[in-house]
Symmetry: C2
Subunit: 346 residues, 2 copies
């Protein structure tokens, strides 16, 4: 009967106003060569009709999406939730303030990430890309650099020749270790986050440098790389204890590892804190409530996110950079950073 419900197009606005399509477009996009009165009319009619420009058509022609994509990696989706979400909140805030939309895609595996990047960049789905879990030598970074596509990462590469924001994990490692040393510990283990990520290496260096600065050599047997499933913090603690390498304190690369380590300690009849000092990192919500309270580092993720977003906006607006920002974490003292127990058997 009626027409087959055609999409409402710019043409309809043009007809309704008696203007040309091009004028309507220019009016709606804020060009200066349209009379104020005309612009008003166009806006009124567009509003009344409920017209919005087709995203596909406008981005095809203008080659702009006004969209920034944040690619979130699997580990984030499962475990470090708070980290990721608060970060995103900051990003979104700073992007939307400048008229950009934030869009988030999830990557299940590292290989998938590459595919997602290609899809986003080569298919032109966004103007800029954000992601984390940066590696010392990161293919994603190199690929994007080679193509000159705008991106900012959370975390650095070894070369560090692109734009990034990062938490200063070197300083975290150094401070955590130094605190434990000041408490009288000399056998301090480090349960490391996966070394494939650059920040793990930074933390390790901080840890080692602190030891060295206090005349303590680092012992490979005390440095154990931990994962989320294959080898957890608990596995590492078990290994440390059964091998009898005798640490009295542990610095964990993140709270998930620390939490897991605490579980294992209890199984061995050790109280986290009094019997084995412990410092984590991230300040996950549970940290405050577990046992004596886990001493850890808090990061201002909101600020991190905002900077990330602002950097991207700057890049998109032609500010070549370089944009690189290091953020400090704050040590949150709770119950597990205790002095070395006097009567412990070595």
């Amino acid at each position: 009967m009626g027409e087959p419900a055609r999409r409402l197009g710019i043409r309809d606005v043009a007809e309704q106003t008696g203007l040309s399509v091009s004028t309507v477009s220019r009016a709606l996009n804020g060009y200066s060569d349209v009379k104020l009165e005309t612009r008003r009319k166009v806006e009124a009619v567009a509003e009344q009709l409920g017209y919005r420009a087709s995203f596909a058509a406008s981005s095809l022609r203008s080659k702009q999406t006004n969209t920034v994509t944040f690619m979130v990696s699997k580990p984030w989706t499962k475990f470090v939730d708070p980290f990721f979400l608060i970060l995103l909140d900051g990003v979104e805030l700073s992007l939307q303030a400048r008229g950009y939309a934030l869009q988030i895609v999830m990557a299940r595996e590292y290989e998938t990430e590459f595919e997602i990047i290609r899809n986003s960049v080569e298919r032109g789905r966004c103007d800029g890309l954000l992601f984390g879990r940066t590696r010392p030598e990161d293919e994603r970074v190199e690929w994007l650099q080679a193509r000159g596509f705008p991106f900012v990462t959370v975390g650095r590469t070894d070369k560090s020749d692109h734009d990034w924001v990062d938490v200063d994990h070197y300083k975290i490692g150094y401070q955590a270790t130094e605190r434990l040393i000041r408490l009288g510990h000399t056998r301090i283990a480090h349960l490391m986050t996966p070394l494939r990520y650059t920040y793990s290496k930074h933390a390790l260096h901080g840890y080692r440098d602190a030891l060295e600065a206090h005349g303590i050599g680092h012992d490979p047997a005390l440095e154990i790389e931990c994962y989320l499933s294959r080898k957890t913090g608990a596995d590492a603690v078990t290994e440390l204890i059964t091998r009898g390498v005798g640490p009295t304190a542990i610095f964990c690369g993140n709270d998930v590892i620390a939490l897991s380590a605490m579980e294992a300690m209890r199984q061995f009849g050790l109280r986290p804190g009094p019997d084995m000092a412990l410092i984590g990192c991230d300040d996950v919500p549970v940290a405050a409530h577990v046992g004596l309270g886990l001493t850890t580092f808090r990061q201002d993720l909101d600020a991190l996110g905002m900077r990330l977003g602002r950097m991207m906006v700057a890049k998109l607006n032609g500010d070549a950079g370089p944009h690189q920002q290091l953020i400090d974490a704050e040590l949150i003292l709770r119950g597990t950073d205790l002095p070395r127990a006097g009567g412990r058997v070595e």
Copy 2:
């Protein structure tokens, strides 16, 4: 000097293969009217050249984005992290299995949500929409229904005449209350999640029905609506205690409220559990670690997400539905559901 770096287009693939643009397109999109040998060649050349169809162009022409948008509301971004992320994981999994991409946008306020919906739907940025925090009378739902745009929500409206998945909060409310009654409590308070959300009403009905089923009338003074900042669980507990309405047990609409309530109890010298029984909902990670352990309900969010995704796929493929699924939550018994102090267990 060289050409100004034109975008790699389908035309390039056509030239390289000696075929027409249309054949290349059909080959790449898996149409049957192209010879296998031809398809192979096209695929090889496309791969070698690194060609991907422009998203804007293809979605303009085909009127499909193969993208589903999940709109996440502000409260989720800040507080109920685990809920939201695991859900999304399930959604993403089921969507990508059917060739759809999941894209997430964040809404800061309820008003913003409407704007986001209009942007997504009217500008044609996605083929389907997902969102939660559904209200008894939800403008978003009505707007989308009026336009016949595919969407599925987490949570129902009062009319419940659209497609949704939902956790059975009525049953949660009933079970929680019944459990507390069985433990000898008769003065049971209910700290409600905001009643603007439908699920809060369901929980309330479950709570009241359980009371009634056991011959206990509900007392408005024991039913307090809680929010994330304005009136927290702690405020509600303070109110209950200072007004002397004398509850011996509390059922909280979610764990954040329960956690906050526990804080207040301690300030009044009350031990959550022994002095005041408590049951929450959601099973946030902290729940297991706080005090005696918070008794609460766990929801299979992964399953919820997968169903959500699959429903959307079904709708997009023409399955008219209706699609409506109610999911059960599981009661996780921990330390705060204790018998009434000095009372007798049934």
